[in-house]
Amino acid sequence: MPRLILSRLVFMVLAGFLLLSFLFALFHMIPGDPARLMAGDNAPEELVQSIRRAYGFDQPLHVQYLSYMQRVLMGDFGVSNYTRQPVLEVVLPRIGNTAALAGCAMLFAMTVSLILGSFSAMFWGGPVDKGVTAFSLVGICTPVFVTGIIGIYLFGVYLRWLPIGGMSSWQHFILPVLTLGAYQAAMFTRMVRSCMVDALGRDFITTARAKGAPERRVVFHHALRNALLPIITLFGLGVGHTLGGSVVTETIFNWPGLGRLMVDSILTRDLPVMQGAIFFFAMIFILVNLLVDILYTWADPRVSYD
């Protein structure tokens, strides 16, 4: 296990450097001039030149790249082109905000899907199963921004039960978490259901039933434990989707998270912030995958990394 963790951490560092180099190359290769974008369409050339000088865009590319990488090694991701704030100061609080949103949404989605998926499999083909299937199909087909806007107007504006924008109290979590979680819950429920249907058809379930084990124990102990391995993989992948989905959710609910920061910095060509945001996004993703691998050994003791 320690070897796994160590090798993954080394991989993370390598992947981080490759990613930063790739982003640097990408954003310098595509057409467009950040100084021009900052100055505006109608700005005189002197203004664009003065921005270029002030922000170091006039340096040769390899000089810009080397000095950037050197600074990253020292833990300095540069300063935002617009606000002149250090990138880490901008990005780090956002990581916590996105983690809180995505974490709660995942927790909600996992709980709902495990319960609904198991019941659906238990009553396979019956009205409960059909109802759950209908719920998950509607959930999968409704884009996050539609659920979000409906939630805002129904619970925020008309019923006035829940606040809409920001994250200053626990009530602020409810709408974005439900919006983001509902889509994932719908997706997971389908998968949990099919894994459980498969597990419930196995011989050891017949044995358990023949031994007279109560149905609740058969489903939630024997079947679920055995169906867990693919489900954990699925949840691991789901974290990626949730992080991706958080970009839209954060925009609709004005959530000050990493996803919104990433989009804004890409649109405004705030290169240092964009590199920082994407870098940390990728690191979170790698860490989550590591966590999933560790969870495998818990779910199935046959899996060993040593």
Partner: protein, 555 residues
């Protein structure tokens, strides 16, 4: 030193009287609305967030309200597009018009407790020149500023410059505390602004909010009424609207045009719109045939239904038809240039468009519905546009394609990413690859000098200025140069009018609608204003606390 009173000063004196009347108007309106009440926090939803708070390095108009609250200018532009004194009480221009001396308001302090005086003003502008602040190009010919006495500062110019005073009203040219600047440096000032304004800037969390608290030592006695202002950043227009409807914010700007009719039915919300200084236009590259032909350019202008465009793209309320070329209602010297009975300049008339094209030698010769030149080659162009950079840009481009298609000119739309577009339309004539490109022109200084000198002037051909049409007209250059140095107000306005009339003759671009600014406010907020230059002053704003409670909003 022999001096002559600047005509603007006389205007200012007249204006002081006028603004007193306006103030009286406000008072009587206030009496109907109730006496102003002190206290409370105004929460205000803004759309953008990419700003730096340091005025010398900011390139984003969206940040203007930050300075508006905390940092004041020597002069400012009011709702009637007139210059009124703020930190300068009056000013005089020397006989040779190369020195302007400002008499400063006394007894004013910066938020850090240091005095506002001539030394401070001179420091800010001399530093702007020395450090090449981004706005320095607006102070053309500025040599140096000198403190003549404790409350008198002289601006020395290399040549007379008529737009000096109006440009000083541009928000980024506000007077910040030199002491704070020396302590914090540019980097520190990027997150903290220290000025003399009605509110002190106390906190900023990027992408979330900017907080201002009442300046108890503000020089306007009794103001402001509010305890604090919280500007929250809400990029999504639907969310901004929903937050206003729920009362989570008291004021929201840049509302979605299609939400406005619904908001107007809500008795707890007051919606106001005013024309901004931003006008859409299509750049025609005059290096490409047949855009060098004035008849063709006029024909294209007549082919576009501006009224229909305002209805279809902007729901009738988000924009207005162009009533003058380039300048809009908020700009100094603007005049309605429509002929009697016309609904916009270059009114929609496809038949006239076709006959002008025919006169220029272009018509449908083979009956295939497409216009050809004398050699039988089709008249077809590409139109470059962005999508979502400015409200409605892509839809406007689609309508242009459809209107020009109707008179027989097929248009291919090319949608480009914002940074790539900006760079591609900023090339010198030999490198410019566009035929037509959809852009918009805003005038943050609300003074015609900038468009006259940087938009249509021959000296302003890209990359030097913003003349990306590569258009040249001796008469327009002459009028612009004359207005640039003309310090008599009436003369300058007349030159501006002649410049607009000449633009209508020569039609260097296709003129399109002017965008509106919109402001939605909960009805318990009184006394807040909206200015055409995208400013929303709240110095005199106050909250009716009882009404706020009645609407079920408590914080």
């Amino acid at each position: 030193m022999k001096t002559k009173h600047h005509s603007r000063r006389r205007a200012a004196a007249r204006l002081t009287g006028a603004s007193m009347l306006v103030a009286a108007g406000i008072v009587s309106a206030t009496a109907q609305e109730g006496e102003p009440q002190y206290g409370g926090q105004l929460i205000y939803a803004q759309s953008g967030e990419k700003f730096s708070l340091f005025p010398g390095r900011n390139t984003d108009n969206g940040a203007q309200d930050v300075w508006l609250n905390a940092c004041e200018n020597l002069v400012e532009l009011n709702e009637e597009s007139e210059i009124v004194p703020v930190l300068a009480e009056s000013w005089e221009t020397s006989e040779d018009e190369k020195t302007v001396t400002f008499k400063l308001r006394e007894g004013v302090e910066f938020h850090d407790g240091t005095p506002f005086d001539a030394e401070a003003v001179a420091f800010v502008f001399n530093e702007a020149k020395a450090q090449d602040f981004i706005y320095i190009s607006l102070l053309e010919g500025f040599d140096r500023a000198e403190a003549v006495s404790e409350h008198e500062v002289a601006f020395h110019l290399e040549a007379p410059f008529a737009a000096l005073i109006p440009n000083l009203a541009y928000r980024p040219l506000c007077i910040f505390s030199p002491t704070a600047y020396q302590e914090l440096g540019e980097e520190g000032m990027a997150t903290q602004i220290v000025g003399t304004g009605p509110f002190r800037h106390t906190d900023w969390v990027k992408g979330e909010y900017v907080l201002f608290e009442r300046n108890d030592n503000y020089w306007k006695e009794g103001l402001p009424y509010l305890d604090s202002i919280k500007m929250v950043v809400v990029p999504d227009p639907s969310t901004r609207t929903a937050m206003l409807e729920r009362g989570e914010v008291d004021r929201a700007v840049s509302l979605s045009d299609f939400d406005i009719p619904r908001l107007e039915l809500n008795e707890n919300i007051r919606v106001r719109t005013v024309p901004s200084t931003r006008q859409f236009y299509v750049v025609l590259n005059h290096m490409v045939e047949p855009f060098d032909d004035v008849l063709v350019r006029r024909a294209l202008n007549h082919a576009i239904d501006k009224v229909g465009m305002v209805q279809a793209v902007f729901a009738g309320s988000g924009a207005t038809v162009p009533k003058a070329p380039t300048l809009s209602e908020g700009v100094y010297g603007y005049q309605d240039m429509r002929q009697e009975g016309e609904d916009s300049i270059f009114p929609y008339d496809p038949e006239m468009a076709q006959s002008l094209l025919q006169e220029a030698g272009y018509e449908d010769r083979d009956g295939d519905g497409t216009i050809e030149n004398a050699d039988g080659e089709d008249l077809a162009f590409t139109l470059w546009t962005r999508k979502g950079s400015t409200k409605g840009d892509y839809q406007v481009a689609q309508l242009l394609q459809s209107f020009l298609g109707e008179i027989g000119i097929p248009i291919e739309l090319v949608v480009m990413e914002a940074a790539a577009f900006s760079s591609a339309v900023s090339q010198a004539p030999d490198d410019a690859e566009y035929e037509m490109a959809l852009l918009s022109w805003g005038i943050p200084t609300a003074d015609p000098d900038e468009p006259m000198m940087y938009f249509t002037h021959t000296k302003a051909w890209k990359p030097a200025g913003a003349n990306r049409m590569f258009f040249s007209s001796e008469e327009l250059d002459r009028l612009a140069d004359a207005a640039h140095t003309e310090t008599d107000e009436d003369e300058r306005k007349e030159l501006t009018r002649q410049w607009m009339a000449q633009l209508l003759e020569e039609a260097p671009v296709i003129y399109l609608p002017t965008l509106h600014l919109s402001l939605g406010t909960r009805s318990y907020v009184h006394g807040d204003r909206i200015l055409a230059v995208d400013n929303y002053p709240a110095t005199e704003a106050w909250i009716d606390h009882e009404e706020m409670q009645r609407q079920g909003i408590s914080r």
